[in-house]
């Protein structure tokens, strides 16, 4: 059982990072970025090429993944989402645009990178062993520990940024009320761009971290997006604390499920559980009601 808790904590911390990126974009633009999982996949590929293929150090490859995805985020926002949000007569348009960008990214990746599953050499080697593994002890490998630790650091960094800096305050202001923020002199356009870039960069970071443990292939995007949707729906879309709680909950649910149930049954139960949960709490744990 101890092992399950460790697995849950590791998964939960990265999932929280993924959910934070999605919720950030949602809170600012009221758009669910369906391409979030595909951005995660791109981040993983950046690390795969820079670190795995070209042998650059990991501490260069990981920030590079975040930077590349931030640029992708800015471009998507500028050329795809802003024009649609400015002219759309139905809210369907921005959502379909998000779905379109997800399809586009995934299939570009399939064409460019192929379908093969890729992995990278371990960044750190070794493991902590707690007690006798055969008798309820547990293993925490260094790569897993590194992933969890870095995720927590990034999450803490983001929270501090949003809480204490000027651009962070602008982000929160825009998320709360766009018009009021504009009246207070906040540059809404630049702040929106910043929010989208941060959201995309977080997806890239998560991908770059998890590629060291699970590897990556071009098709993981939809799977990751679906998980991210579950997390932000449980926590409440657009709420920072909700994203973190949702991520941790899903991480533990997945770890426990994989321990007790055969294969794909875990997610069937998670889906059913989530649908039942949303029937009783349609806004998630911390969400505000909205239309």
């Amino acid at each position: 059982m101890f092992q399950v808790l460790i697995n849950g904590a590791v998964l939960g911390s990265v999932y929280a990072l993924i959910a934070l990126g999605l919720t950030m974009v949602f809170s600012i633009m009221r758009v669910v970025n369906f391409a979030h999982g595909q951005m995660y996949m791109l981040g993983a590929f950046v690390v795969y090429y820079l670190y795995g293929e070209y042998g650059l150090p990991f501490y260069v490859a990981l920030p590079a993944a975040a930077a590349v995805l931030a640029v992708v985020g800015v471009l998507f926002n500028r050329f795809f989402f802003q024009p649609v949000l400015a002219t759309a007569t139905r809210e369907e348009n921005s959502m379909l645009m998000a779905v379109g960008t997800a399809l586009l990214l995934e299939n570009l990746a399939l064409t460019v990178f192929g379908e093969k599953q890729r992995g990278v050499p371990a960044v750190v080697d070794g493991a902590w062993i707690f007690g006798d593994v055969a008798e309820g002890g547990a293993i925490l490998t260094y790569p897993n520990a590194m992933v969890a630790l870095l995720s927590v650091v990034f999450i803490a960094g983001l929270l501090a940024f949003v809480q204490y800096t000027r651009p962070g305050r602008a982000l929160r202001a825009v998320a709360q009320d766009k018009e009021a923020a504009r009246l207070q002199g906040v540059d809404v356009k630049a702040t929106t761009t910043l929010g989208f870039a941060i959201g995309a960069a977080l997806a890239g970071l998560a991908g770059g971290l998890l590629v060291t443990v699970y590897g990556v292939n071009s098709g993981v995007g939809t799977n990751i997006s679906t998980k991210a949707f579950i997390m932000i729906m449980i926590g409440g879309a657009g709420v920072t604390s909700g994203a973190i709680v949702g991520g941790v909950l899903l991480g533990f649910a997945e770890a426990i499920g994989y321990d007790l149930l055969p294969g794909s049954l875990t997610y069937l139960l998670i889906f059913v559980g989530m649908i039942v949960f949303l029937v009783f709490k349609p806004n998630g744990l911390f969400g505000k009601p909205w239309g």
Binding site: V84, L104, T226, L268, L278, V279, P282
Partner: protein
């Protein structure tokens, strides 16, 4: 009758008439017929998505209900040996009932919440069939389903697909251009306002969803016998997204939009079959292009010009 409705009707009828006589011109080429049969089945399923668009919900679980219809047909045919003519309406009924039950809970969610939930629902339905054990045959699926018509000719099956397409179109038409359709539109524009005028919003949106699921089930059943098999992978989230794209490409203001979109895209890709490996890539580009350049769909091109002049 307003001009838009008149145009909608004219296009729909002309389209069905062309499809009815087309086999004479094509001379029974199996390949061309099967392309058209594919389009007809896809349109049938897409009509359901179109109906949920009219109540202001973006429905991404249509593939799930098509899968339910397909499996109902598959199980009824292979396990109980009933006739296809029993299985077809039964599949629609099972999908509609399940849709009504699920819908009565999830339809209170709106906007993006509803869309995200329906994605999860499609996955849940697929996983349920994958884990169905002996009953659903797991990932092996149900294969070797009998065809409803004996003989070598593809024509009876072709006309079945056209009749089903006509049925789907008729149902959607009846729903949209009636009192029911007006209520749906009122709900899309402002659900709370519609409710305050005494509309039983809950009942009408469950009705809309059940009709949509019935069309999905009908389409799934049709595809099960058309391809003579059904697998958990037969209808996935990706398919749900394509149905949405069909509706959007055709136009959300016109009943025939879903049909026009499905035929246009599917035939386009048969013509570009040497680019098969880039198919979904082109779908993605097309989707973005359509939303940026043609936000009201193909059917609205002339309407937009008329409005401008």
């Amino acid at each position: 009758m307003n001009p838009l409705k008149k145009r909608d009707l004219a296009i729909a009828l002309a389209f069905l008439a062309v499809l009815a006589v087309l086999p004479l011109a094509l001379g029974g080429s199996r390949y061309l017929l099967s392309v058209l049969m594919n389009c007809a089945g896809l349109s049938l399923i897409a009509f359901g998505v179109w109906i949920t668009f009219t109540i202001g919900r973006i429905n991404i679980c249509q593939a799930g209900f098509a899968l339910i219809g397909g499996y109902t047909t598959g199980i009824v045919l292979s396990r109980y040996g009933l006739s296809f003519w029993v299985a077809l309406p039964l599949s629609a009924l099972v999908s509609a009932l399940l849709g009504a039950v699920v819908g009565s809970f999830i339809l209170k969610l709106r906007g993006i919440y509803f869309s995200m939930l329906t994605i999860c629902l499609t996955e849940a339905i697929r996983l349920a069939f994958l884990n169905g054990g002996d009953f659903t045959q797991g990932s092996k699926g149900i294969t070797g389903l009998p065809q409803p018509f004996g003989g070598d000719s593809a024509l009876p099956m072709y006309y079945l697909s056209i009749v089903l397409l006509g049925l789907g179109l008729w149902v959607t038409w009846r729903v949209h251009y009636s009192r029911l359709g007006r209520i749906f539109r009122a709900m899309r524009l402002n659900e709370d306002l519609a409710e305050s005028f005494g509309t039983n919003v809950w009942r009408y949106r469950v009705t809309a969803f059940a009709i949509a699921c019935a069309l999905g089930g009908l389409g799934g059943s049709y595809f099960a016998v058309f391809t003579q098999s059904v697998y958990p992978q037969s209808f996935t989230v990706e398919h749900s997204i394509y149905y949405m794209l069909f509706c959007f490409l055709g136009g959300l203001e016109f009943v025939s939009g879903a049909m026009i979109g499905a035929f246009a895209l599917t035939i386009l890709f048969e013509l570009l079959s040497q680019f098969q490996q880039y198919q979904t890539l082109i779908y993605g580009v097309l989707m973005i292009g359509v939303i940026l350049l043609l936000p009201n769909g193909l059917m609205a091109i002339r309407a937009a010009k008329e409005a401008r002049s």
